[in-house]
Structure formats: C-alpha cells, structure tokens
Symmetry: C2
Subunit: 455 residues, 2 copies
Amino acid sequence: MEVIKQFELSKEYLESLRQGIEEANIDFIQESLDGVKVADIAAILDELSMSESIYVLRLLEKQLASDILIELDEDNLLKVLPELETAEVASWIELMDSDDGADILSLFGEKEREEVIAEIQDRVKLEQILELLRYEEDTAGGIMAKEFIRANKNWNVIQTINEIRRQAENVEKIYSIYVVNNRLQLLGRVSLKKIILAASETKIEDIFEEDVISVPVHMDQEEVAAVMRKYDLESVPVVNAKNKLVGRITVDDILDVVQEEADEDIQAMAGVSADIEESDSVFTISKARLPWLLIGVIGGLMGAKIIGFFEDGLSKYLALASFIPLVAATGGNVGIQASSLIVQSLASKSAFDDTPLQRFLKGLSVALLNGFVLGGFVFLVVVFLYGFDPIFGITVGSALFCVVLLSSFMGTVTPLVLNRFGINPAIASGPFITTTNDLLGLAVYFGVAMLLLNL
Amino acid sequence: MEVIKQFELSKEYLESLRQGIEEANIDFIQESLDGVKVADIAAILDELSMSESIYVLRLLEKQLASDILIELDEDNLLKVLPELETAEVASWIELMDSDDGADILSLFGEKEREEVIAEIQDRVKLEQILELLRYEEDTAGGIMAKEFIRANKNWNVIQTINEIRRQAENVEKIYSIYVVNNRLQLLGRVSLKKIILAASETKIEDIFEEDVISVPVHMDQEEVAAVMRKYDLESVPVVNAKNKLVGRITVDDILDVVQEEADEDIQAMAGVSADIEESDSVFTISKARLPWLLIGVIGGLMGAKIIGFFEDGLSKYLALASFIPLVAATGGNVGIQASSLIVQSLASKSAFDDTPLQRFLKGLSVALLNGFVLGGFVFLVVVFLYGFDPIFGITVGSALFCVVLLSSFMGTVTPLVLNRFGINPAIASGPFITTTNDLLGLAVYFGVAMLLLNL
C-alpha cells in the first residue's frame, strides 16, 4: 500500500533506465519496473526515444505491454506503432478492450490497418473492433466499449453470476448488469450490490430497475458527458435505433472527454492550434502559434491602412491617436466576454434556454448598460482629468459606447454561427475574432470622430 | 426504459406546473413529477421562484426532496435554504450522504448552521458531517464522503457480504471494498466482482489487492482529479497522516471538479468574475463583467498618457500612429499564448517537467523565432507593400520583435508568480495581463521609434 508510488518517476531513474537499455540489462529493466503502475510506465516510456520504448515494451509481460501501449501519449504512439511488427500489434490488440483496440487501429493508415486486422486471431474481438471502427470518433459509438455484462430478464441470480464468471476476464470493471429481452433490447439495469444481496433463485425480472438512462449510439460525446454528469452515472449503456444494447461507456473515458474538450476550448481561446505541451520542441510550439499570430499581424497591418485613411483628420486632431489602444482593447475584451458566455451556454443546453430573440435582447441590454457606464467614465476622465474639449470627450466616449455595442453583437453572433456550421464555437473567443473586432472598432472610432469633430 | 426522459422538461410543462402551484393542485404536481429523475426535477425547480420551489419540495417524498435539494443550482439553494424551517433542513440532511450534508451546511452562516446542527438527530451522520466540515473545501477531505464499505482483512467473504447488507442503505454505490487492519489503516481493496466470484469461506486476506492508490486528506482536489484520471479510478480511498482510512471520493464528484476548474479557467481568461450563466439577470451579468472592462479602460486611458508623452515625435512621424493597433494586438496575443501553455503545464505536473531554467530558455527560443518571423514579415510589408522608408520599416519590425519577446516573458512569468501565491494562474491569460502587455508594448514601440527615428 502506498500513497501513489511516485518515487521511481524521477529523472535519475530515467537516466538509469536509459543506461540499462543501452547495456541491454534486461534484469534491471524488468525488476525496476516490477509493480509500477501502467500509467506510470507509460509516462516513463513517453520520455524515452521510439526505439527505447519498443525495447522496453518487448521485455514486459504481454498483457502489461498491451495495457501500457494504450496509455502512451498519442505523439509517442504515432512514432512507435509503425515500427512494430504487424503480428505483434495484432497480438497486443487482442488483449485490449474493444474500444482501446479500435483506437489503436484508427491510428494506422488504411493499408497498415488492413494488415494488422488480418493478423488478429480472436474473431469475437475482431468483430467487436470492426463494429466500433464504423462509428464516428466523437460519438457515443466511437467511445463505447463492447465489454459489458448482459443478463436476460428471465435469468435468476445464479445464472447471472455464472455469466459474470464467464466474462470476468473480459470485463474488468463491472458497475451495472444490463437487463435485456430475447431480442437483446435494453430493459433496465441491476446493480452488482443487488445481485450480492439477493437470494440465488431470485429472478432478475423481479429486482431490476426499469428507469435506466441510456444514450443513442450517434449522440455527440460532449452530450454523453453532460448526461453522465447531470445524472451522476458511473457507466451508461449505448443503444441503437431499435433500442438494442450495443455497448457501454464508463466514466473514466468521459473524464478524458471533459478534460480534452476543456483543453480544446482554452487552446482555441488562446489561439494555439493542435494539442501542444510544454515538453514539445521549440519548432513544434512555434508552428502551432505562428499562424494565429500572423492573423493578428495581418489584422494590425490592415488597421494601419484604416488609420492611414484618416491621416488628414488625425493630423488636425493628434490626440485621436492616443485613444486608439483604449478603443481596440475594450472592443477585444467585450467580444471575448460575450462569446465565452455563449460558448458556455452552448455546452450546457437546457430545455429552458432563452429563445434567440430573448438572447439578443438580453445581450443588447448588457451591452447598453456596460457601454453607457464605460463611455460615461471615459468622457469624465478625458474632459475633467485630462482637460480635453468636451466635444472631444463626447467623441471618445460615444465611440467607445458604439464599440461596446458592436463587439457584443459580434461576440454573441460569431459563436452561434460557428456552432451552426459545426465549428468549435470557442474559436470565437480567439485571435481571429479579436482581430476583426479591432478593425471594426477602429473604423467606428474614426467614423464617429469624423462626424463629431467635423474633420 | 427511455432514452432520457426529457419530454416533461418543456416550457409548456413549466407553465402548467406554475399554474398547478398557484391553484394548489397537489395531485397534478405529485403525479406529473412521479418518475422524473432527481436532476431533472432540480432543473425544473431552478426555473421556479424561491417560494414555488419550496412549495414543490414539501409536496415530495422526504428522501426525494433531500436528493433534489443537493442538486439545486447554488444560486437557487442560497435563496431557498434560509426560508426553510431549521428542523426541516436537519431532517433532509439526515437523509443525505455525509459530503452532501456538509456542503449544504457550509452554505449557512455560522449562527444558522449551529441551529441546524442542533436539530440533527442522527448522531453518526452528525459526527461524520462535523468531521467533513473541518477540512478545506477544495481538498480531498472537503469532497470525500464518509459512506464506504470497509472490511477487516481477517474477515471472510460471508462476513463482508453481511457488512455490505448492513450498510446497503447508506452506501448507494459500491465500487470497491476497502480492506483495513485492526487499527483501521488502509491495506488494500477488493472488488465487488471478486466477492461475488469467491467462495463464502474465502478470507479477504487471500483475495485483496495490495497496491491500491489512495490520496492524502489534504491533497488539492485538482490533484485528486489528476490522479483519478491518470489511473482510471472510479473511486479513491482517502487516508490521514497515519494511513487511517477516513473517506472515499467517487468519480462523479471528480467529474464536477474537472468541469468547474475548466469553467473557472475559461472565465478567468475571458475576464468574467463569478460563475455567470446566460440565464442570470442583465444586472448580474453586467456586474460580473464591468470590473474587468474597467481595468481595460483604465489601461487604455494610461496608454493615452503614454502616447501623449510622445506627441512631439508622433506629430513629426504621423505614420507611427497607424501601427499602434498592430503592436498592441500582437503583444496581447503572444502573452495569452505563452501564459495558457504555462497554465496547462501547471495543471498537469509531471516528474519529468523541465527545470525553470530550461523552461525559460525554451520560451525564449520560441519568442526569438516567432519575433523574428513576425518582425521580418512586417518589415517587408511596411517597406515593399506600403512604401514606407526602410528605416521606418526597421522601426516597426524591431519594435514588434521586442514586444514579442517582452510579452512572452510576461506571459510565462506571470502565471508562475500567481501560482506561487496560490492565485488561479489562468487569470494571467485574462484582461489584466493583456492590458499590462498593451502598455508595455506601447512604451517599447515608442521607445524604439524615438531611438531609431531620432525623434
């Protein structure tokens, strides 16, 4: 018993492991990894080179190697997989849960995938995996596993326990036993606790709960996560259009989904493409950032054109230049606030959501209120603290007011439009929209100034 | 069986429920809510007024009302709780899991809390709750429950099943049975599956797994989430400094933790204080946004001062004004990219993380590379496309280069400093830092211009 066995996970151990690999010190490698948890070994292998990883994997017991393989970082997997023998991968896949096997296979190109599939001997597993590969990656079907315990409603407790025994090796974690009819349609569930506490002859029919929550096989994984979170489910059965039980999703997979979706949103907001980690190379990190920065730079260069267009007015009223950052920054901030609220509400839809018109009116009210407060504040500072003409104060204040309204509108509409087209709406809080808002803000600012200052 | 019973969750039903409440149509209310899931009833009550919510809660069966109470939105709970009778709350708390009871109690003020506690009759539950209230809210102790199944290693399977039977009502979901010694120290776990498949006389000692992962009671909830996610745990035992088993955390609570932490980060990035939903009032939404917008506005006003300081130079070289948005926006974008990477890496610490020096050098390399590319690009556009003097192109390009370096530095350092002081580092990707970067960027831009253009 230990409070997480972390002591091996040191850079010192990593060095000694590397040396062990170089010296082909098989005893040391096997002994030092003995009893270390799968996730920890995977974390170690992620630090090694491709050939070192493979060397260690091949030294480990086959089931363990198979468990580790699916825990490897995707970057690392994509390097390791092509270098393994086809038969080797196939034999490891046979030892995985069907969903993990499908995940591994989906990382291969079409030709290599067919080669691996041809080597899989376990026909049942193979059919399960082939079925899973047919579903879209981000749906319930794409993340479910075929390993679950199914009991016919006419069985008794003893028959059900026998089924558990028969499947014990395949189904690692049992949360619920799903109850089906003769046509394998889902009728309900019975908990393992109830099975333990019931008499052997009790009919499943008499103890199962009917009101089980299931999800359709094509449901988006984010929606599945929302359902499991709302109803505090540890696992959820997946059914097809005919209500036939086709798989189950466990909450540990959902935990990954929630984390990944959150990371994706944050990356979209920060303007970083792809899943970058701090441990990636300088070039990789740079490559993921530069395109978004370039969008901003090109926007800035277009902004220079807009300002250049108003150069005459600017030369007459040089102070206009001073308030450019104020206008641009406020537009950006307002846009991000508005869009992130919409992104959140899109992620947690409810039956009581406002209608689009109500949404629009509420967004408008908030923008009017905030625009009025900020515009008024700026007017006061510009006139009474900075000592400018009142007409100049009115110009800056009302330009700010207009920019708040416009940016709110853009921040509200953009994620809704992106979402309609199946694009991650969180992008609306990122650099692309901020840049657009900057440009619109500049145009509004100078437009208002031309009008009010008679330039 | 249904694919999520959602049909009642319509605005039409809400209206008819409101009418039922007004007409005191108890039969209608009870019948229409019969069989509806706890989370769905809670979602309905969240849409009702405080007095309507309480009216419905009191019509429901006591256990159901207690289950619904803890599922209510916190805003709604804070309105409902003070209006309930002390004895009523106490009797509902008695029916909750200890962690939920502690959560409810922690929402009361000190005086009211004591009053409710005095009314709790169930001494065991009360002691459990009082223990939980002693732990910090965001730690393992603060989110664990006291309901779990504990078996002595000397017991056999029959004795363990009897314990499960005894606790069946208290412990709703059983994932693992935790094995302890006579001093109640955690030794390991045994799965329910193993209990079912073992012979009645089998000793627990002979079938339990020793290498169970546990978390210390003071561990931060985010770290607990990372541990459970890494090792795919559906529940984790919590131990005190003497390794005594004091509670367990289930993955459904962790799912909420992960979602909440992600929402918090996104809100910090977007510059929204407090947990705002689209359904909140105009005033509430505005109040959560205005302070952050004001920070931006005050920054903008300070920016105006900075630019005003360089007014002489600006009047000689008016085109300088045109590139203000370019410099400001790029600084902001670079800062957000750098800080969000650090925030992510802080959330998923690993033993193989780079040292601070390595981090710094890598950040510097990325910034040098990006700064060089962007500065060079801008130089080319400014000189060859826009037709400015080469010396002006060099000014804008090299100012941009400096801004990229500076903003990267700020974006990297700020979250690290915030984190050191126990503040959510995601704030570093929000408006406060963007504003600071804007100001620094302006100062650098004009500083470089003064120097190179001899203004």
